[in-house]
């Protein structure tokens, strides 16, 4: 037992948890082809969850602001992307990958622009007056979520909106008896690319250095001569743009979306950041993958208990590590 601890630590510590879950699921599921399908689905969902959750986590880490309205950006991203794809219906359905990709890029760009703009508005109008006051912060951002959801309802209506998928992302690849949806692989790649981008930003640039330092000790960064509030609005906009991209990707994954999407994702996103640990991007990715794998495996084994299983997992992890698996150093 004594040698096991350091060995696990050396091999990656808590980052081995998804592997452990996958192995356990392999045993429980029994059928390798189903397991592969579920694992790929879990990983791709995990990266979409990461997109949705990363902003929330960073914003909390940097400014101690918990934005309950964060999932509104997810909804907005989903609906804006769906609308753009519907407008560009001709390109989406065309037989040319070029036009397909163009429509997709347009939809995602629209989601990014909208998300960043909504983030700017949110930070300036909703969050700024209630810094340092957690109680009012929670209440106000929650109120903002309700308003945002109602605006979506008023704009797009209560009936499910259809999301057209670009032609080249339709279909599935058959691999050793398991079918892997192309869209899921695509979502996975997008998530990995975005993660790499954020990782680069945080670890290789001066702005990233300031963000990481600000997450640890905001006052000291200011005492060294930097304005954190200006940095913060940038991070807030980045976070909401990422959430919007996550929403756009999710919309394509679900293909049918309702205004309740944000509220549904909010709970999962919260579980992700609590499990992963607030303030760290690695932690958020870890939490997202763990939650998504659980969701898919349990959804297959005992469909009704998918959300409850994640809740139990969160409770267990909090008992074990009160700050989550890999929180930012404070």
């Amino acid at each position: 037992m004594k040698t096991l601890g350091p060995m696990i630590e050396k091999a990656g510590g808590v980052f081995l948890l998804p592997v452990a879950i996958a192995i356990l699921a392999f045993v429980l599921i029994g059928a390798p082809s189903s397991w592969l399908t579920l694992t790929v689905a879990g990983l791709s969902m995990g990266l979409m969850l990461f997109l949705m959750a990363s902003g929330l986590s960073l914003v909390f880490g940097l400014m101690d602001v918990l934005n309950f309205g964060h999932s509104a950006f997810v909804s907005f991203g989903a609906f804006v992307a769906a609308t753009v794809l519907a407008w560009l219906g001709g390109w989406v359905g065309a037989d040319s990958i070029f036009l397909n990709a163009l429509a997709l890029i347009a939809a995602i760009s629209a989601a990014i622009v909208f998300g960043a703009a909504a983030g700017w508005f949110f930070e300036r109008v909703i969050v700024k007056p209630v810094y340092k006051d957690h109680l009012r912060q929670i209440l106000i951002t929650m109120g903002a979520l309700i308003v945002a959801e109602q605006l979506i309802l008023a704009t797009w209506g209560g009936t499910p909106t259809n999301v057209p998928r670009p032609q080249f992302l339709e279909g599935a690849i058959i691999l050793g008896g398991s079918s892997l949806e192309v869209y899921r692989l695509f979502a996975f790649i997008v998530g990995v690319v975005v993660y790499a981008g954020i990782y680069f930003l945080l670890n290789k640039t001066r702005i990233g250095l300031l963000i990481r330092a600000g997450v640890e000790n905001r006052e000291m960064v200011e005492a060294l001569g930097f304005r954190i509030d200006r940095l913060f609005i940038g991070v807030f906009m980045l976070g909401s743009a990422l959430a919007a991209v996550g929403g756009a990707m999710w919309a394509g994954y679900e293909t049918l979306i309702t205004p309740a999407l944000g509220a549904e994702m909010m709970v999962i996103v919260f579980i992700v950041v609590i499990i992963g640990g607030l303030g760290s991007i690695q932690g958020t990715l870890l939490g997202a993958i763990v939650v998504a794998l659980m969701q898919n495996y349990v959804g297959f084994l005992a469909p009704k208990l998918a959300l409850a299983s994640n809740m139990l997992l969160m409770m267990a992890i909090l008992l074990w590590r009160p700050s989550g698996l890999a929180p930012a150093v404070k």
Partner: protein, 238 residues
């Protein structure tokens, strides 16, 4: 003219007045020591200079300019560095990254970096280590090193010897002597022996006000005054 002067500063937390009418002049050059009992308001004074309270009443003038309404970051850019009691080290960052952050534009002045290495050789040795893995003394060295990597006119240092071993305290004292030849240091200190060995001028704060100010040599000679102002909280050589 003094380098820094504080006039009638009031700070309260909730309904408790921490500073009331604090007035202090720090002349240029050397080490100026702030003494006083626990909770007298020494740390609050440093934080107020640094702009880390929401708009305290009163004025803070630095080189003849009122800085009391400036943002903390602008105060820092005026040439005031701050080494807080908890040192404010970014534990998740490497020593190098901590130092880079303290530079104005991300580039080191080679001469200054060399001086830092000379003063604190341990930092060069652990340059690429994560800062949380440093010992308490090394963290304190890093905190001070950050304060001198750019040219500053005034360094505020809050209880740098707290919890450090005597040999390290000695080394720290030597470094402060060296630094104070070119930069004024405003030092809050509980360790009287350490304070005495460094201080040129000093002030005693009690109950949010300056109750005595003068030269350190005079104060060190007057044990009756020490007893009265500091009671038993600071023993010789503690």
């Amino acid at each position: 003219m003094s380098l820094l002067s504080i006039r009638n500063m009031d700070v309260s937390i909730g309904q408790y007045a921490v500073l009331h009418g604090l007035t202090l002049d720090v002349p240029e050059g050397g080490v100026f020591v702030l003494l006083g009992r626990n909770g007298a308001g020494k740390t609050t004074t440093l934080r107020s200079i640094m702009g880390l309270w929401d708009r305290p009443a009163g004025s803070v003038t630095f080189r003849g300019e009122d800085i009391s309404s400036l943002h903390t970051s602008d105060i820092a850019r005026k040439g005031i560095a701050f080494v807080p009691e908890n040192m404010g080290i970014f534990g998740g960052l490497t020593v190098a990254e901590n130092m880079v952050l303290a530079t104005a534009n991300g580039k080191f002045d080679p001469a200054r970096l060399k001086r830092v290495y000379a003063l604190f050789p341990a930092l060069e040795q652990f340059w690429n280590k994560q800062a949380w893995s440093l010992s308490g003394g090394q963290k304190q060295m890093l905190a001070v090193a950050r304060a001198i990597i750019e040219p500053r006119d005034l360094i505020l240092i809050d209880e740098p010897t707290k919890g450090l071993a005597p040999t390290i305290i000695h080394g720290m004292g030597e470094a402060f002597k060296d630094i104070s030849q070119s930069t004024t240091i405003l030092l809050v200190e509980q360790n009287f022996a350490f304070a005495k060995s460094l201080g040129r001028d000093m002030a005693v704060i009690d109950d949010g006000q300056v109750v005595h100010t003068g030269s350190m040599a005079d104060f060190a000679a007057d044990t009756a005054l020490q007893d009265r102002l500091l009671s038993l909280s600071m023993e010789e050589g503690a």
